[in-house]
């Protein structure tokens, strides 16, 4: 994917994201977009608190950010040609998110077959080395048929 193609893709994805009511409700934003990877974040919001005693954000809200960011990373895969959907997403919660702080999610597609994109993501406040949560997911994926011609398809049968 050329710089120009990536820019176009990001522009389209940003518009798409802005039109998603649930992402809008949680005030999510796109921070970084690259080939097959993305960083998104959402501000601390008292409405998303899951534990009123500590003010810690509900895991479900972090999960929503992770799911969105993973889907966005799939959209940024060079061979992605149609909208994606989550097949499954596993969240591992390492520690409570710090109350009052913006939460970031960083996702990357580590493998895409003709039909499935496998994605990993982490959530953190400021240090990716100290994650709040990690996620692993499988997403619906359709590879462009054109790309098959360009980089001669492998016949190893390694495609799931």
């Amino acid at each position: 994917m050329t710089e120009e193609e990536l820019r176009q893709r990001v522009t389209v994805a940003k518009k798409f994201m802005a039109a998603l009511p649930f992402c809008h409700a949680l005030d999510m934003r796109i921070d970084e977009a690259g080939i097959s990877e993305a960083v998104m974040s959402m501000p601390y919001n008292p409405m998303t608190v899951g534990d009123p005693d500590t003010g810690v954000v509900h895991g479900g809200a972090v999960s929503a950010l992770m799911d969105t960011c993973c889907g966005f990373a799939v959209n940024l895969h060079p061979e992605c040609v149609s909208p994606t959907a989550t097949i499954d997403l596993r969240m591992d919660y390492m520690r409570p998110a710090k109350p009052g702080e913006r939460i970031f999610a960083k996702a990357h597609v580590y493998k895409a077959t003709r039909t499935v994109a496998f994605v990993r993501a982490i959530a953190y406040e400021n240090d990716p080395e100290n994650p709040v949560a990690t996620a692993t997911g499988a997403f619906v994926f359709s590879k462009s048929s054109k790309s098959g011609k360009a980089d001669a398809p492998t016949k190893s049968g390694a495609v799931a």
Partner: protein
């Protein structure tokens, strides 16, 4: 022998404990989730609202909203079951239950959501089943559906860390 409690008193106590568990959590309010109670059985209900939409083109409920709904159903079911036993055995009311630490929600260790079909712009229902509940760890399975109980649109399984009780019991 104690006189049996009137139905009204029993209902009030049970509904009071459930409300104490659910009503203080902002994210549950934000998602418009409520709980239907039949005896000890809970059904979580997420009333549809436009803000829950993820993809307006289909339109479908955002996977994150679905995940949040399922995780909430699992957490409340776990806390509710433990509180139920204490409440019924010792006829505790909401204040006693709170004092004993039953209203502290378990902490999610991991949670895996299986998206079976897209969530339609309708109300969602979920029921959680506690498959194992030890003193520290619990394993819970949740099923969610919309119009048809047999056609799940999502299911999930997760592990939880149980909060310690004040009474040590």
């Amino acid at each position: 022998m104690n006189k049996p409690e009137s139905l009204q008193v029993v209902k009030q106590r049970r509904d009071g404990v459930l409300a104490a568990l659910v009503d203080s959590i902002p994210y549950i309010k934000f998602l418009n989730i409520s709980f239907d109670r039949r005896g000890d059985e809970l059904t979580a209900v997420m009333q549809f609202e436009d803000k829950l939409i993820g993809n307006p083109a289909i339109p479908a409920i955002h996977g994150g909203a679905t995940a949040s709904f399922l995780e909430t159903a699992a957490l409340i079911e776990l806390a509710w079951q433990r509180a139920w036993t204490a409440m019924e055995d010792s006829q505790l009311d909401a204040d006693d239950v709170a004092a004993a630490g039953y209203l502290r929600l378990p902490k999610t260790i991991d949670f895996t959501v299986d998206y079976l079909r897209s969530g339609l712009p309708r109300d969602c229902y979920a029921r959680a089943r506690v498959n194992r509940s030890g003193r520290r760890y619990a394993s819970v399975h949740v099923e969610a559906w919309q119009d048809n109980r047999a056609r799940l649109f999502a299911q999930a399984t997760g592990h939880f860390l149980m909060p310690r009780l004040n009474t040590g019991g």
